[in-house]
């Protein structure tokens, strides 16, 4: 074991020039690594893949009760993805608080807003990648259905694909927002399942809740059914994404790291 440090090692005598700020691309790369390089993260991503593939078996195996169209298969992929994808997003934001490695992260880059932006960027890349994966699973499901001799309606429009992508990304963003706001893995994951369920129940008693807040408003996005629903969709995005994310960013920037 070496017990001595040469000046070269320490870089003190080398009169270091003031290094420039950390490029945003580097922050994104590091956050990407942190989000995907642990065993726990990989298992979770595998579960996302598995639940999506599992869901795809429903329309394949139950042809009589399920619309045999390209668009409806894609919607199944979306629903499969969004069971666990918000949890991945939550952990990206809360994991470092739970492991207390925020201490390292926020001393490496004390401009916390930049770290938050990097995590947001990574979550979008991850969400986009998941959406592509969902597309592949959809194609496989359609292939299986066609191979079994069924006739499928090829009704996939640009609007339908856009709605699908937006729906997946919105669910990821809702996870990011909840994680940023609550800063605790257990609390945020519990809330991500309990809150939508609670508002769904409230929605059965109150039409304003079911139209404006309940996450089922996002099904209009998924179904590419925008006509007359834009205000409701916008409001629910503010409620589930914009407001908690803004509050979470402020809270993250202000919070003392104990």
């Amino acid at each position: 074991m070496t017990t001595s440090l040469s000046p070269r090692t320490l870089g003190i005598d080398a009169a270091p020039s003031a290094p420039g700020p950390i490029p945003f691309s580097r922050l994104v790369r590091v956050e990407w690594a942190k989000a995907t390089d642990t065993r726990a993260a990989r298992w979770l991503l595998a579960l996302v893949a598995l639940s999506t593939a599992g869901m795809m078996l429903v329309p394949v195996l139950a042809p009589t009760t399920f619309d045999q169209t390209y668009a409806s298969y894609l919607r199944v992929a979306a629903l499969g993805l969004t069971i666990l994808l918000p949890v991945v997003a939550i952990l990206m934001l809360t994991g470092e608080w739970s492991q207390r490695s925020v201490m390292t992260t926020f001393t490496q880059e004390p401009r916390r807003i930049r770290v938050m932006n990097a995590k947001l960027a990574v979550s979008m890349v991850l969400g986009g990648g998941a959406a592509v994966f969902g597309g592949v699973v959809t194609a496989a499901g359609l292939g299986l259905a066609a191979a079994s001799g069924r006739t499928l309606e090829a009704n996939l429009t640009v609007g339908a694909v856009t709605g699908y992508l937006l729906f997946v990304l919105l669910n990821v963003l809702a996870g990011v927002a909840l994680g940023a706001l609550l800063q605790s893995s257990a609390t945020a994951i519990a809330a991500s399942f309990a809150l939508p369920a609670a508002f769904a129940v409230l929605g059965t008693a109150s039409t304003p809740v079911s139209d404006w807040i309940d996450m089922s408003t996002w099904n209009w996005v998924l179904e590419n059914d925008w006509a007359g629903h834009v205000p409701q969709i916008s409001f629910s995005i503010v409620f589930w994404v914009a407001a908690p994310l803004a509050a979470g960013v402020v809270r993250t920037i202000r919070r003392d790291v104990g």
């Binding site: 942190k34 490695s101 926020f106 001393t107 880059e109 004390p110």
Partner: protein, 305 residues
Amino acid sequence: MITTTALTKSYNKVPVVRDVSLHCEPGTITGFLGANGAGKSTTMKMIVGLVRPDRGTATIDGRPFVELPNPTRVVGMLLDASAMHPGRSGRATLTIAAQMAGVPTRRVEHLLELVGIADAADKRVGTYSLGMRQRLGVAQALVGEPQALILDEPANGLDPEGIAWMRSLLRDFADHGGTVLLSSHLLHEVEATADHLVVISGGAVVAAGRLDDLLASSTILVRSPDPGGLAAALQVAQIDYVAGPGGALTVDVAGGRVTTEVLAGVARDHQVLLTELRQSETNGLEQLFFSLTAAKAAPPQEAAA
């Protein structure tokens, strides 16, 4: 290099750090000594921007930490060795730190060797002992080739061999012009490692200076056949004292204001006979530490251990 001015922080209206001002020069190791909960960790976290002070400022190389473009290139820190992701390997943890700092990742291998955990580099940090985590933390602190180090209780969890290793590493770092601020609640550890000392108690600095100066003359022993008369004379002269063994009185030098000469003058003015007047024997830092901190009763609890 590291300077704080009147740093002050309260949690729930309980003061944790009060007006802490300290200064660390390049080429020196400053020991930040205090009991658990004295406010050491909170002060260090304020220096590196993790905790925002209610009042006061902290600068590294003349700039607030949060304004350093790439802080780990200037100051390396080890604040809590247990605050690492347990699911990541030692090598992966260091690689991330190297990427953030923007140094070549081959430096990771060198540092793994340097801190002596190369053999365990691919094991997950969750399987590491506290001592190994401390070593990994030191490697992480050094990754950006910084000019200063801020280390919170770096000796925690290290075996005697590890402590000796840490000591020589820090001495080397300082000898090459580096600045070190390290905290400890272990008196002999600081005594053996640091050349400057800041003692904190109840959130406030109670002593600061060169270790040699602080150890040299903290108290004066003065003895008279008439202890009551001597005590009365000291009270008139507003000099603090405590009764020692055998009727002797121990007088605090009060930062140099009180000397043997001053005491002799007081005795003469009040016609008190002295039979003994000398610097107390130094019993090392321990005596100093306890004498300085004992005065401050009921230290507030620190929020983070």
